[in-house]
């Protein structure tokens, strides 16, 4: 084979490689697969919200605060467990635990709620949701469910840690069973905390587009009402003192704990059912207002 022929052969070959190596634009492909309905969409929105709260699938910056909060609560739980292992006596009951870390729960809500709703408000993203197979109410309810779940997980996780630690420091299956029965009120109290804090925080945040403003508002709502409790508690009689906890969402939940699980530091006397109604009423009112709010937001 002559030099020239070999060259042209090579050229032909490389041309062949080239042409088979071309990336073909396969053009637009239709979608014929399943289109899932509103239930799936709402569920996906809920999961997306849950991930958002913990900064999953987001930048490292978005992960800092939620995980610091979770970390601190976990450390508190670990210390409590360690002290109990040393002294053999629990420092706090399980039901007392959510109240003990309430400040962290407040801060957690104050950052998570704006993350869930204020961001979408500010970015004008809502029209994209509402132009999809969702109903108006699905959006706020999915977001609320995500926040309630997140707050509950933040409290229930450390409680479980404490339970595991406690289960190792008691002896016999019966004792472990008793320990578990002690844990249950803690988990339920966490549910109440999660419901009250989340619904209030999400409602407040849904009125502010800027996340910083929303966070400040949430903290304010939880903090400004606390002195009222103190004032009533100091100035009033016994009945006033026992009803004073109604004045602030923070103490309200403690009051319910006092009624249902004998949580320390909240003597509500005979007014327990009043606290129960107040909690139910507060959550219902927040959810209702949230729905009204999202009926209005059109953009």
């Amino acid at each position: 084979m002559s030099e020239g022929a070999r060259l042209s052969e090579g050229a032909r070959l490389s041309e062949g490689v080239m042409s088979s190596g071309v990336i073909h634009d396969i053009g637009y492909q239709r979608y014929t697969g399943p289109r899932l309905g509103r239930g799936y969409v709402t569920r996906s929105l809920y999961l997306h919200g849950l991930r958002t709260v913990f900064g999953l699938g987001r930048s490292a910056k978005a992960k800092i605060f939620p995980w610091v909060a979770v970390g601190i609560v976990a450390v508190v739980a670990t210390v409590l467990t360690a002290v109990r292992a040393q002294t053999g006596r629990p420092v706090l009951s399980y039901a007392d635990f959510p109240g003990a870390v309430a400040v962290l729960t407040t801060l957690f809500c104050a950052t998570a709620a704006p993350e869930l709703v204020s961001r979408d408000l500010r970015g004008g993203v809502l029209p994209l949701y509402f132009s999809r197979p969702l109903r108006r109410a699905d959006y706020p309810l999915a977001k609320l469910a995500a926040l309630v779940s997140a707050v509950w997980l933040m409290l229930a996780g450390p409680l479980t840690l404490m339970f595991v630690g406690g289960a190792f420091s008691v002896h016999g299956p019966g004792a472990v069973r008793d320990e578990f029965l002690d844990l249950l009120p803690g988990l339920v109290q966490s549910v109440i905390y999660a419901a009250v804090y989340s619904s209030l925080a999400l409602l407040v945040a849904s009125f502010a587009g800027r996340r910083a403003v929303a966070a400040a508002l949430v903290v304010a709502v939880f903090l400004v009402t606390t002195p009222i409790v103190g004032v009533i508690g100091v100035s009033g009689g016994q009945a006033a003192q026992q009803l004073a906890f109604l004045a602030s969402p923070t103490t309200l939940v403690q009051g319910v704990g006092g009624w249902l699980f004998d949580v320390s530091g909240s003597d509500v006397g005979p007014y327990g059912p009043v606290y129960g109604l107040a909690v139910a009423g507060l959550v219902a009112a927040c959810v209702l207002l949230l729905l009204v709010r999202y009926r209005r937001v059109a953009r």
Partner: protein, 312 residues
């Protein structure tokens, strides 16, 4: 590229009958609007406040009409809003993107919000971003995108679930001339190559007439005109004459010769009626001894048609 055959949807894309929307504050946004729109690329034109956005919201089932009927893809958006919204893609006019999310992540999320299963959503999000020309940049945060790229992400999220109808509200908003052309070319490609019907809302008629099959013009909530572009532009070629002076005299002379000239800007415009008219017009100019600056045939712009319709 072969055109993708769509399963035959209802021949009518959008049909409204005496559609009226009055807001509680007394503003009538749409008044007895009756229009039938065939599949294809449709321009919905009207000034700001003409009722375009209200119409879109009604088509999406987000606003109930005060009275009248409306059907989209053969469905009633009032009763069947979720099904309609499942088959329609909507690109809003204003900013609607979260700046701190990665484009691929965001479009995937929006695909799931349209009911696509998780894995499919991811695939189609990549595809949609590729089709709008953002494949390389899809793992960057949206906040760092240019206006043109943001518009493309907005289009991608509307396209991701393979809708049968795309509603684009002012898709060229905020774009520079090159960006406008690219966006219009993309919309045209979606309407022809992808086979998806598109409604393009715009207050710029010149822009949409370039890519649309038909036009719907509304003004003050009323239908101005609705027709296929081809129907609007046939037999509408005009002769534009510009003389240095004596435009009025020329107009009078031509009118006396049986033409119907119209003064437009510094010149005259008259519908073309046969080849002989060139000579007649030139003779008239020569007779009057006027300096001829320009004489050319041009396509009657659709804008003129709407102006005429508005004057009637």
């Amino acid at each position: 590229m072969t055109q993708i055959a769509r399963e035959s949807i209802a021949t009518e894309l959008i049909a409204t009958e005496a559609l009226t929307k009055r807001y509680p504050n007394g503003v009538t946004a749409l008044s007895a609007l009756t229009v039938d729109v065939e599949p294809g690329i449709v321009g919905l034109v009207g000034a700001n406040g003409a009722g375009k956005s209200t119409l879109i919201k009604i088509l999406l089932g987000l606003l109930p009409p005060t009275s009248g009927q409306v059907r989209v893809l053969g469905l009633d958006p009032v009763a069947d809003g979720e099904r309609v919204r499942g088959r329609v893609g909507y690109m809003p006019e204003h900013d609607c993107l979260p700046p701190d999310l990665v484009a691929a992540e965001f479009v995937t999320h929006m695909a799931r919000m349209s009911g696509l299963p998780r894995a499919t959503a991811r695939e189609r999000a990549s595809e949609a971003l590729r089709h709008v020309g953002l494949y390389e940049e899809r793992y960057r945060q949206i906040g760092g995108y240019s206006t043109g790229m943001k518009q493309r992400v907005k289009l991608a999220q509307a396209l991701v679930h393979d809708p049968d109808l795309l509603l684009l509200d002012e898709p060229t908003n905020g774009l520079d001339p090159a960006g406008r052309d690219a966006m219009l070319a993309l919309v045209h490609r979606i309407g022809t190559e992808f086979g998806i019907s598109v409604v393009v809302c715009s207050h710029l008629l010149g822009e949409v007439e370039r890519i649309c099959d038909s036009l719907v013009a509304i003004d003050g909530g009323k239908l101005l005109r609705s027709d296929r572009i081809s129907a609007m532009t046939t037999t509408t070629d005009v002769l534009a004459v510009e003389v240095g002076e004596g435009t009025q005299e020329l107009a009078a002379r031509l009118a006396s010769l049986g033409f119907c000239p119209r003064i437009e800007g510094r010149g005259l415009v008259l519908p073309i009626a046969g080849d002989a008219m060139y000579d007649i017009v030139l003779d008239a100019i020569a007779d009057l001894e006027l300096p001829l600056h320009r004489l050319d045939q041009r396509r009657h712009r659709v804008a003129d048609l709407f102006r005429e319709a508005a004057n009637v």
